[in-house]
Symmetry: C2
């Protein structure tokens, strides 16, 4: 087992001149990356950063984030990657709660950071990617003035490497403690399931501050290249994919809906793409079918969560893209896959017993990828990891082959007139309507029903659909009590930084 | 990280109906293999085998050996795989030294085992693969009568799984303590370096009792199939390779010499073979070139040793088979490769300092693959693992790219007239002669020279070469003091069970 910092160190020995990072006009070979990482690590050590110290980052996608991940790891220090879309109060809470002593920012986040500085209790060093700002150390100058020698800190696989805050659906953000072994277990599990060829190149379009940075991790572990998208812009992403002969892009389902609707996709040569993968939420079948029709049977899926760093299950393209054949096999296109070689995934009832195939229970995960716990929250840790299993809060059923079918989030389940309704089932139907771009179904408090099934829909540009029409479509396909009582049209439906539809925010907007 | 026993357990969940073992007329799917493994484990538990107990095997290649490896692992017990070519006294020593309590034999080894039984101090259960022998439990009957439930023993990656005795070049056999983590580190290191596709199939022709069973291990970890050759017979091996569409065969160099000389190789369709690999000794360049000419640029190499379970370095086909181009690249065909992602390999001097490229030193290895130590020999363990590095006794130089070029075994170096001669260099020249099948160069004690360079040669069937002719060939190519003073022709040159030329035995025969 190796640590995060070993990745650039080893590859700079084995493949010094191979390109490993592309980010805007920056191109780095393994030797160059490792030198920059060492320089940064030595600079941080010079600033007094020691083992277990926390280093926070607040920046949009950039090769420097990857450099920081590797550099802190070489010191046995811990990165606290911050979500750049959080509100100032949330940032203050997380930075103080994490005990971070160093803060990195870029030109996008400098002003936010300046605004909250007075409230940050532990930050003693501030570093600015672009430099030239009074009171902030200049990232590139720090590197220039620092030694490129390999830092000599003994780092163990069981040391923390990341404190990854996750919003959760309720309450305060929780700091997920991720060790080197956690991330390496995920990377090895995926590395053994997927095939890697030396030219493989991932295009990291989701935010790096999130565990959604795993495509960089697994490609880098295998010695392959990562192209980093500094902005989420389809035209730019597709042009880069063509230019860099990208072989893999990971997104969340809603982004694939947008991609299908993106008018200029045909202009780009995407023939180098070997896999599209998605995670973060189930993909409505209708969207998947259109994706396969447009891009071919090259889709894979993973299910996971930050607490599992983030590996839970994997669905390879042979099962993800089988559109014809025996129903028990075709059904798998709606599965999130099966446990990997390095994880155990079960679906259990309230008494922690495995439920039989076809019954709904909670997904639990066990493996060396599962977090050490929540930072400074032993109670929640004990509750979440009870019995040695990570309790995900996701509801699912299995089939006899061990494939897992997510039903929904435990907290998103709607209880209406005493019946359980799983929003995803209703959303699946809405996506069948050709005008629907994004759909979110939530429960809105109601005196009559307890909760009332409510659909929020955004339509494709120029397309039209009426409330009655959408409700009628649902009535055709699913039980009456599951059908929306109301359809609300919104231009933009709230999503998280990685593009996951946030039903909680949708609910808030409806109830405000 | 997972344990050996997890391999069949996981794949029987993930791919129950996929074939994973073929051995003569036995074909097993993952479900069948895992059931047999569980039955055997439960039977052994019923016989009182507990965690850390030792179980010895004495058998030619057979699927049952793999079953035993997995079954003992599920109990946290330890397999002691015995070399079936050892003399009775050696077997007695190893079985007693290992504390083995159970002995498995097949029809090839039953008589040897019976002969030494009175001298075995700890063996309390004897199991015979074929059954029907008084005083011996019947393997298949044991399985039939036993439960197929998954054994519930907590096994850690740091538990021992194998005690692998290695002859060493001098003194008594040493019991190398190999943990699950050791083997898994090797398997993951190789798994990350090589590409695996679901249909890949290795043909295990080298003995399974040796760490040369690694092709089964890495293919099984990746969920791929292993075809086991019960006998070493080229006609049968090639026919099986054709029939089973084998994709990988691992051998030792001398077997490739034989294969090149095997008259009927052309009769078989070997187009499914994606890789040939070799290990155990450097391949003479002449032999390698002929192999590539005959089979294509599909050769890979590993360097390792039992104490490293057995991974040291890997040379992939792009470097192994580059016959043209810049000399510093073409040179790599004579390298044994570079450290893997999970191992560190250095070449050091007597003071343990890394030597500069081009200078000769001893290969040392560090990594989670390195053995826990020698069983019951803390002194030799401390000496061999001094400073945290495994000292291999192999002499080598590196180039500036980290490629390692083995010069020879430390103990095989000949000192003649005060000059150092490395036998492999002389053997390389002898292999250039078209009549030479196998060559071994050793030092024979001499009053005049201290040691006298002596070549032992076996010729290809029907081919001819004289002593003078071979010495003259050497004089053309290498310094006079390196040239053999004498050439001895032998019909068969002594080799180990995996086919490695045993220079020590050659020396003994010359001096007796």
């Amino acid at each position: 087992m190796i640590t995060l910092g070993d990745i650039p160190r080893k590859h700079s020995r084995l493949d010094p001149d191979k390109e490993c990072i592309v980010c805007d006009d920056v191109r780095l070979t393994w030797r160059q990356l490792n030198e920059r990482v060492n320089r940064l690590a030595n600079a941080l050590a010079g600033l007094g950063v020691e083992k277990d110290n926390k280093v926070a980052t607040l920046a949009l996608n950039c090769h420097r984030l990857i450099e920081i991940y590797y550099a802190t790891s070489k010191l046995g220090a811990v990165t606290v990657p911050l979500n750049f879309r959080l509100a100032p109060d949330e940032l203050v809470y997380i930075i103080n709660h994490s005990d971070a002593e160093v803060l990195f920012v870029d030109h996008n986040t400098l002003d936010i950071a300046k605004g909250i500085l007075p409230e940050l209790t532990n930050i003693r060093e501030r570093i600015f990617f672009q430099g030239g700002e009074e009171g902030w150390l200049d990232y590139e100058k720090l590197l220039e003035e620092s030694s490129l020698a390999e830092p000599e800190v003994e780092v163990s696989e069981d040391d923390l490497c990341h404190l990854q805050y996750t919003g959760g659906t309720t309450g305060l953000p929780k700091g997920v403690m991720i060790t080197h072994r956690n991330y390496m277990t995920t990377a090895i599990g995926m590395g053994l399931a997927l095939e890697f060829q030396p030219h493989y190149t991932t295009h990291q379009v989701l935010p790096i501050f999130h565990t959604a940075w795993w495509p960089v991790l697994i490609h880098h572990l295998a010695g392959c290249r990562a192209v980093i998208a500094p902005r989420f812009d389809f035209a730019e992403i597709l042009a880069t994919a063509e230019r860099e002969k990208v072989t893999h892009i990971n997104m969340v389902p809603v982004l694939f809906s947008w991609l299908l609707d993106f008018p200029d996709a045909e202009k780009y040569d995407l023939s180098s793409i070997r896999y599209f993968s998605y995670a973060g939420a189930p993909m409505p079948e209708e969207v998947l079918r259109r994706c396969i029709a447009k891009f071919g049977p090259i889709f894979q899926q993973g299910y996971g969560l930050t607490e599992a760093a983030p590996l839970g299950t994997i669905l390879l393209e042979e099962d993800q893209c089988r559109l014809e054949g025996p129903p028990e096999l075709v059904r798998r296109i709606n599965s999130c896959g099966r446990e990997s070689l390095v994880t155990e995934v079960r679906v259990v009832d309230e008494e922690e017993s495995e439920v039989p195939p076809g019954e709904i229970g909670e997904i639990v995960i066990r493996g060396k990828n599962v977090m050490r716990g929540y930072w400074k929250d032993p109670e929640l840790t004990a509750k979440t990891l009870r019995g040695g299993w990570l309790h995900t809060g996701d509801l699912a059923e299995t089939d006899e082959y061990g494939f897992i079918y997510i039903v929904d989030r435990k907290n998103d389940m709607i209880i209406t007139g005493g019946e359980n309704v799983y929003p995803f089932e209703v959303e699946q139907v809405l996506y069948e309507h050709p005008a629907v771009l994004v759909a979110a179904v939530v429960g809105v408090k109601s005196a009559k029903w307890g909760e009332e099934v409510t659909a929020v829909v955004s339509l494709k540009q120029g397309a039209e659909a009426s409330e009655e029409e959408l409700i009628a479509l649902c009535r055709e396909k699913i039980a009456g009590y599951k059908c929306p009582k109301r359809v609300v049209f919104m231009e933009t439906i709230p999503t998280s930084a990685i593009g996951k539809v946030l039903r909680r925010k949708v609910r808030e907007q409806l109830q405000s």
